[in-house]
């Protein structure tokens, strides 16, 4: 079909096969999440410092308060997304075996989603005071 005798032009052959209009999506999201975390880092550090030296009951009380839970959930979403993109770039740079690359990218997605959901679930559980 697309051999030298084909009537299709080189442009026609590659059209709609690339990352049309979505090539910079990861670049943009990497910056978006980076700016989000830059804004959130000071409150997050303050929260962690507030928890030092407290026992579970004290920590649970602080982590369960609404503004703190929201700040932490936002930070977790931004960081999980950011690290998913970052690790994928690292994998694509260094893993050249196609199947291994596929498995690594998939494992990366699973890891980031699992870490994010486990952390968010823990915060929600603390917020509902169960």
């Amino acid at each position: 079909m697309s051999g030298p005798s084909s009537m299709r032009t080189p442009l026609g052959r590659v059209r709609n096969l690339g990352s049309s209009h979505s090539g910079t999506t990861d670049f943009w999201r990497q910056r978006l999440t980076a700016v989000a975390m830059t804004l959130l880092i000071v409150p997050v550090i303050v929260i962690v410092l507030m928890l030092i030296g407290r026992n579970q009951a004290g920590a649970a009380q602080i982590l369960g308060s609404l503004p703190i839970a929201i700040i932490l959930v936002l930070f977790i979403i931004a960081s999980a997304w950011h690290m998913k993109i970052g690790m994928q770039i690292v994998i694509e740079d260094y893993v050249h075996n196609e199947k291994l690359k596929l498995a690594s990218v998939m494992a990366n997605n699973f890891f980031c989603i699992a870490v994010a959901l486990a952390s968010i679930y823990a915060i929600l559980k603390l917020s509902s005071g169960v």
């Binding site: 830059t38 579970q56 649970a60």
Partner: protein, 132 residues
């Protein structure tokens, strides 16, 4: 059919002279990878807080140990270094700071800010809670 075109490959790391910005680019990636696995600690800590006193005591026993403290200290530095090193990239993304002296200054700034804020956070941590 034309033969497969041999595209030129970019020279790899060992071809280049080591510069500060290049070394810190590698450190940025390395701290990113460290933070990636470090989130397991953060996750463990939150799950433990939600699970109960026993689980939380386990986390505190770990973070209170010498190895635990070293890991958390390393995590603090990796986080803050990655943050300031990342802020450098914001400047570059926006098209500023590409002159030789500017990029050196930004890079030294990120290095110094990362280390000094790590120390500051730990001083505050010890003042507030007397260690973990």
């Amino acid at each position: 059919m034309t033969a497969r075109i041999e595209r030129p490959l970019s020279p790899h790391l060992q071809t280049y002279r080591v510069t500060l910005t290049m070394a810190l680019s590698i450190v940025h990636r390395a701290t990113g990878i460290a933070l990636y696995f470090g989130t397991l600690l953060l996750s463990w800590w939150l799950i433990a807080a939600a699970s109960g006193p026993g689980a939380y005591a386990n986390v505190q026993a770990f973070t209170g140990s010498i190895i635990g403290k070293l890991i958390v200290f390393g995590y603090t530095w990796a986080l803050l270094h990655h943050l300031f090193s990342g802020i450098r990239y914001f400047f570059w993304d926006l098209g500023y700071g590409f002159k030789a002296n500017e990029r050196e200054a930004l890079t030294w700034g990120a290095l110094i800010a990362g280390i000094s804020l790590t120390v500051l956070v730990w001083i505050v941590a010890y003042t507030v809670g007397g260690g973990r």
